[in-house]
Subunit: 220 residues, 2 copies
């Protein structure tokens, strides 16, 4: 079953001005999308976002340049769509048996994923693309929103285990996980300090300390 997750925003009028790719989600269209996204991924890992060009994707996907411009608008659209695909994986947060273990494993996943060019390229590419195109910003927002929603299980389990004061609903799990992740991305893209395991350790420690102090407990 080929996926079809076109952005539902900005439909021109009520007259049904169909955007390309929405009316014929069948064979060729789906094949085109898959080929294009593969080419985008390899292009990103090879040349990075700033070095990725529409012409490159055209050559390496067998899809004509004009089609790429028509359906995706440009490099940023291509990258945004690629992230949409990446968001449809079956990833689940770690389950180590303790809150600290889960958060630490999660932080290490981030560290390692950004250490490997193949996985780091798409992620950082969209962050870069979001600066110059609203669709990319949208894709980025949606991606992380969904990721952190998946992560709330970690906190739910911790509450169930009695590691944090219950009930579940009283603690903002999303905020806790975000707090653990934020310093890592901050170091990566803002202060450009680079990532290592100590950084991950400290990020987790900060988030956990705040959690135990009740900082993420929702105010009634």
């Amino acid at each position: 079953m080929p996926v079809d997750n076109e952005q539902t925003a900005q439909v021109a009028g009520g007259t049904g001005a169909a955007r390309p790719g929405t009316r014929r989600p069948g064979g060729r269209t789906a094949r085109t999308r898959a080929a294009v996204r593969d080419a985008v991924l390899t292009g990103l890992t090879e040349h990075g976002y700033s070095g990725l060009t529409v012409e490159y994707v055209a050559e390496h996907s067998g899809v004509h340049k004009t089609t790429l411009y028509r359906r995706w608008g440009g490099v940023d659209g291509l990258v945004a769509d690629t992230l949409d695909l990446a968001g449809e994986d079956s990833w689940t947060p770690p389950d180590t048996g303790s809150l600290h273990g889960d958060l630490h494993a999660l932080a290490l996943e981030v560290v390692h994923s950004f250490a490997d060019p193949a996985t780091a390229a798409p992620s950082s590419a969209v962050i870069a693309a979001a600066f110059q195109s609203e669709p990319a910003a949208q894709a980025l927002r949606a991606y992380y929103a969904e990721r952190f929603t998946r992560c709330e299980v970690i906190v739910d389990r911790a509450v169930a285990r009695g590691e944090l004061p219950g009930p579940r609903s009283a603690i903002d799990g999303g905020a806790l996980v975000r707090a653990a992740a934020a310093p890592l991305f901050f170091r990566l893209f803002i202060t450009r300090e680079g990532l290592d395991e100590p950084a991950a350790d400290q990020a987790v420690a900060v988030a956990l300390a705040a959690a135990h102090a009740g900082t993420f407990t929702r105010s009634t």
Copy 2:
């Protein structure tokens, strides 16, 4: 006294291959730099980073296009140099009389600076530029490193007041302040959730809770 803070990195050979701008920091050169940086600032606030073009800077600064390419290499270099200027201001961290007050004021400064396009544009522009050029990344790194060094006074004062366990050297002030700032930038540029005062409140609360739990105390 005209400033001259050229990047000292990547000097080609030992034979003294002088880069433009280093041998004659006098009148015209300095005037050129000033005019260019003004034009970059107005260009950024008007069109944003993705809309800023070298030609625009040339027209609005009176400096010829060729000169801009020669001395700054391109848009990213222009933006990086502009941040270098911004880093030479006389900013000092807030001094409210309490650690919480200082951190909160600091967080609010971030929120408000990114709410105002005129101040937000240069900052976010360099973050974007750092994705495609090493000089820009360098400028970004230097800028925030210097900023957070200035902020360590906040923690020093708190220790002196007895708000945190001393001695000064035992606590990593930079890490504490970074912890308070990270969630804000994370929301701005990674999850693209936008900033508001509650976000600032929580960021400060998290950092403070971690500080009181001893998370930023240096291990001997």
